[in-house]
């Protein structure tokens, strides 16, 4: 789904490369954590996938396209297959939740009846039923992120990129967001999530790609966050990560509490 072949990215001539000979292969339907300190190249990785940047050397393939050599006018087609979520939500403050989600479809020219049918469905999926008419400021951080996720997946992208989606949220709320991302992943969407949140990485036990100074230093199928000892080494990809609001949050919560 996403393939990096010896990708290097140098922003300024002579500077240390943001990415250095990175080769990563993400399969369809995978859930990948991208971890590493600030400045390790996570954001560059994501922006190369989005083709906000072009690699200095190497090739990037996304959904079968050679992104580095994609001509400008085809970039929108690529991005329609990608959903993106950010740490700061990036909702439009002058639009309601419903309008924010609908906006993503309107601007790619979807017909009105499609929007009318799809938006409530997606809002229900992310757990914002009945909150479509609220303004972003009237929502909690977690709800805002759910709205942002709804916007990212409303066009049914093949890949969801998340850049520290839980960075602004408290641990409990983060957990809800992670359950949501997991659920989206289970519907077949490839998820790549850059994060600093070691607890989440350790609890989810998914593939971890660790970057350090632009180099892949670790690529583990069911990894933990890294150096630090995992808090709950045995929880793994247990059925804990269930649908939000279904009330089965006990194991993780108690686990952490004990």
């Amino acid at each position: 789904m996403i393939r990096f072949e010896n990708v290097s990215k140098v922003y300024a001539r002579g500077a240390r490369p943001a990415l250095d000979q990175v080769s990563v292969d993400v399969e369809r339907g995978e859930f990948v954590f991208l971890v590493g300190a600030s400045g390790s190249g996570k954001s560059t990785f994501l922006s190369l996938v989005l083709r906000e940047q072009r690699p200095t050397r190497g090739r990037v393939y996304v959904a079968g396209r050679d992104v580095a050599n994609l001509s400008g006018w085809r970039v929108p087609t690529l991005r329609r297959q990608l959903g993106v979520v950010f740490q700061d939500f990036r909702l439009l403050q002058n639009k309601t939740v419903h309008e924010n989600v609908a906006f993503a479809l309107q601007v790619i020219g979807k017909p009105r009846h499609v929007i009318r049918d799809t938006v409530p469905e997606v809002l229900e999926m992310v757990g914002l039923t009945g909150k479509g008419k609220r303004m972003p400021t009237e929502l909690s951080g977690g709800e805002q992120q759910r709205a942002a996720i709804a916007r990212a997946i409303v066009n049914r992208p093949q890949i969801l990129l998340a850049d520290e989606p839980t960075g602004n949220l408290d641990p409990t709320t983060s957990l809800g967001i992670m359950r949501l991302l997991d659920r989206i992943n289970r519907t077949g969407t490839t998820v790549v999530m850059a994060t600093h949140d070691d607890e989440i990485v350790n609890e989810m036990r998914r593939r971890v790609v660790e970057l350090s100074d632009g180099v892949v230093v670790r690529d583990e199928a069911r990894g933990g966050y890294g150096e630090r000892e995992a808090i709950l080494p045995d929880v793994g990809a247990s059925p804990v990560l269930d649908a939000p609001g279904s009330g089965t949050r006990a194991p993780v919560q108690t686990g952490r509490g004990s």
């Binding site: 989005l50 929108p76 329609r80 439009l92 906006f103 993503a104 601007v107 790619i108």
Partner: protein, 303 residues
Amino acid sequence: MRFQFVLGEVFSGLRRNTTMVVAVVLVTFVSLTFVGAAALLQAQIGKLKDDWYDLVEVSVFLCPEGSVSPTCATGEATEDQIDSVRQVIDTELSSQVSKVYFESKQQAFEAFSERYPDGYQGTQLTADDMQASLRLKLTDAEQFAVVSDVLSGRDGVEIVEDQRAVFEPLFRTLNVATLLAAGLAGVMLLAAVLLITTTIRLSAVSRRKETEIMRLVGASNLFIQLPFLLEGALAAVLGSLLAGGGLWLAVRFMVSDWLERSVDWVAYVSEVDVFRVAPLLVIMAVALAALSSFFTLNRYTRI
């Protein structure tokens, strides 16, 4: 859907940016009014030429007694000299000259007396003080140079005069006025381009977040830029319509209602001419907006 959405974006953009939009409308209004005024002045000159050049003639003044001109060395023009000049006109200039008639000293004196019944500046003149001439009507008034070339310097011809020269000062004034209007229009148009550029930039900045989301969810370049383009174009076109309206009012009330009544022997530009100029103004406005957008948008809303 798309169309409605784009229109919605345009109007919300216009609302958010009201002051700048009003400024763009006013500046295009003023600049295009000057452009239109220059065009109308030229139209006026054309009308006057059409009208007056039909009336004017070329006068071939024949040698009077005591002329110092070298072609008049033999004294007053003789019948033979006059005949040979007429001969030349009939043969060499047959295609340029449509009509010839001879004005004798007596006829010239009668015309003079009619115009100045009390004598000219206190002097009493007689027919002998007048000068006989050949009056030529040209098929095309612009052919004067050819006629003058052929006839000047012939024996018995003192001087060849183009009556059009009488109008030259007026036309020169109108041409200077045209240049002035065009110059001001140029300066104002530059101001308009800069202002539209700034407006689009401001609009793009104030909608940065929307634009960013649009880019991320894969909206096409055209779709992202269209609202800005339309905003600039709409404001400019509005300005051009105002300019057309202003010119129409000016022609209607100043020329048709007032000038035409006070000085009625002159052909003036009419509202029809305004309707002919107005579409050009609208086209210019669109071109102006397109030009400004082209320079701005690529920088501010690139994918």
